[in-house]
């Protein structure tokens, strides 16, 4: 099976007062295994909503998502377990727990998989080293720069070795140098760990690292290249 993810007539409609807005409108999309796919479009075109639906963070109004040949589960808890095992998220604003150190943030997903402390520690440190944070293990997010925080977030997304990483504007809050470093890391991780990346962005430059891009406007795919 070459596709890791497929969406079938995926639709998400929000109701605002009496108005209904289709944030994602009958999207049919396939994501190939081990590729880097970018979803490009202007602000408000439905990129983040689509990413949320693919990753099971949000429920579609109609249509469904198929992951490795199986429809996403419908119950909250089964979805949580699905995310834990199969999906890594990277957000624009990092979404790290400010109370925990960089190392503890990265370790957190492994705790849920009941992996031994020794193994958890070893893997987390290795990954933090891989993203260039060997001197920042015990720093809390508030003590790290934006680029460093995003690298911690990337390490956290990768730590469980999920099949799919969903990144929502991963460089949107970073200066160009840090943004460039993050993109290099994504390419490196894609090669080294054979992981699939779906990146939502409004920055056309990011598409340069992608194997494939789709363009979204008003919740619909308008072209693919």
């Amino acid at each position: 099976m070459n596709n890791i993810i497929e969406t079938v007539d995926l639709t998400k409609i929000y109701t605002m007062g009496s108005e209904k807005i289709a944030a994602v409108d009958h999207v049919n999309l396939s994501v190939h295994r081990n590729e880097i796919l970018t979803i490009v479009g202007p602000s408000g075109c439905g990129k983040s909503t689509l990413l949320g639906l693919i990753g099971g963070l949000d429920r579609p109004t109609s249509g469904h998502v198929v992951f490795e040949g199986k429809k996403l589960p419908s119950s909250e808890d089964k979805l949580a377990i699905f995310r834990r095992k199969n999906i890594g998220f990277v957000f624009q604003f990092y979404n790290l727990l400010p109370a925990l150190s960089a190392l503890d943030n990265v370790k957190l997903p492994l705790k849920l998989l009941k992996i031994s402390d020794k193994e958890t520690n070893k893997r987390s440190k290795e990954l933090l080293k891989a993203v260039g944070l060997q001197n920042r293990f015990y720093h809390k997010p508030g003590e790290l720069s934006g680029g460093e925080q995003q690298r911690v977030a990337l390490a956290r997304a990768l730590i469980t070795k999920p099949g799919l990483i969903l990144a929502d504007e991963p460089t949107g809050n970073l200066d160009s140098k840090s943004g460039h470093q993050i993109l290099e890391l994504i390419q490196q991780m894609n090669k080294n760990y054979s992981q699939t990346f779906v990146i939502a962005t409004h920055d056309l430059n990011i598409s340069k690292i992608a194997d494939r891009s789709i363009h979204l406007l008003d919740g619909r795919i308008i072209c693919s290249d």
């Binding site: 963070l57 949000d58 808890d77 998220f89 957000f91 979404n95 727990l97 925990l100 503890d104 705790k111």
Partner: protein, 348 residues
């Protein structure tokens, strides 16, 4: 999971401080009131306490020594002792006169460490230890003021340094206070007909009222029921006010917590695991609040009442239960709201 809870908790220090303080304040109010009520109950029960078992109490009747001797000679009566029962002796800041069991004694007065005693308003006077050997008693009534110095050797004392009780013999008490005993405490011989005894006593001292010891005891308990109700109401109000503070802070911090919950959910925490994380926080806060509350309460009770004897383990247990009940009620509502929000909303 516990470590994660602790880390998240330590990050929100203001919430931690406010919640534990709220619980502590609630417990302090509850235990202080409990100690106050228990002290009052204990003192009022002392009013009726006798050292030997008492079967029958003749009340509301002043009598002469001759009448008392006649009662003592009635067949079926083992012991008949004079006493004063001051029914209205539950007065704050006053030490009550206690009914005496000993035939030779009239007053049995708890003597405080401060060495100054005020006894009930029907006597209205001050007692003062002048030195180690002499006690000075000032006695004032509407009719006269009298100050008498007596050697301390005439008092019975359980403590050689500071007497805890002063027992005056009947004649000294009568001489000092011009008060006759108004009560006779009676112990009957086994299998004695109580109605027959009552009739015979009436023949000697005229019309009078009778109470069994159990009647007297239940009267005191009944009177103190009002205190218990009062205590419960005040405590609930204290916990409620503390709870409103907790709720307010929790609602303010819900945005932060919503984000935390959103992050945990996106990583793969199930609802059950999220409840575990926050339940552990609530338990930690509850334990801290309870420890703080009980410690401060005990210190304050010792300072205010001079003894920890008025506080019972059951009161402490009730205080702990109330503390946890309120913290669960007020801490979980915002979390419940946050938990129900979608992950996307939590992360916005």
């Amino acid at each position: 999971m516990l470590r994660l809870s602790l880390n998240l908790l330590l990050h929100h220090k203001s919430r931690m401080l406010l919640t534990t303080s709220g619980i502590a304040v609630g417990i302090i109010v509850f235990l202080m009131l409990s100690a106050g009520t228990t002290g009052t109950i204990q003192r009022s029960l002392n009013l009726y306490r006798v050292q030997s078992t008492c079967d029958l109490i003749v009340v509301d009747k002043e009598f002469t020594s001759q009448q008392l001797i006649s009662v003592q000679k009635i067949d079926g009566i083992d012991i008949a002792e004079p006493a004063i029962i001051e029914k209205a002796a539950i007065i704050d800041n006053f030490y009550e006169v206690i009914a005496l069991p000993r035939s030779s004694a009239l007053f049995n007065i708890p003597f405080p460490a401060s060495k100054v005693i005020l006894i009930p308003d029907f006597l209205s006077r001050g007692w003062k230890v002048e030195d180690n050997n002499v006690i000075e008693i000032t006695y004032v009534t509407p009719e006269k003021r009298k100050t008498v110095s007596l050697p301390i050797s005439i008092f019975s004392s359980e403590n050689t340094d500071i007497p805890l009780k002063i027992i005056l013999d009947l004649e000294t008490g009568r001489d000092l206070f011009d008060i006759y005993a108004n009560t006779i405490l009676i112990r009957l011989n086994p299998a004695t007909d109580i109605n027959m005894i009552e009739q015979k006593i009436k023949n000697f001292i005229g019309s009078c009222s009778f109470q069994t010891y159990e009647d007297a005891f239940s009267t005191v308990k009944e009177k103190n029921q009002n205190f218990l109700t009062f205590k419960t109401v005040i405590t609930e109000i204290a916990f409620f006010i503390a709870g409103i503070g907790i709720l307010n802070e929790m609602l303010l911090s819900t945005d932060r917590q919503k984000r935390e919950i959103g992050i945990l959910k996106s990583i793969g925490f199930t609802s059950y695991q999220i409840v575990q994380v926050y339940l552990a926080q609530v338990i930690i806060l509850g334990i801290l609040g309870v420890i703080m509350g009980i410690t401060l309460s005990l210190i304050m009770i010792k300072c205010v009442y001079g003894t920890l004897g008025y506080i019972h383990a059951s009161d402490i247990l009730v205080g702990i239960s109330l503390g946890f009940f309120w913290i669960l009620l007020f801490a979980f509502y915002p979390l419940y709201k946050a938990k129900r929000s979608s992950i996307v909303n939590c992360l916005k």
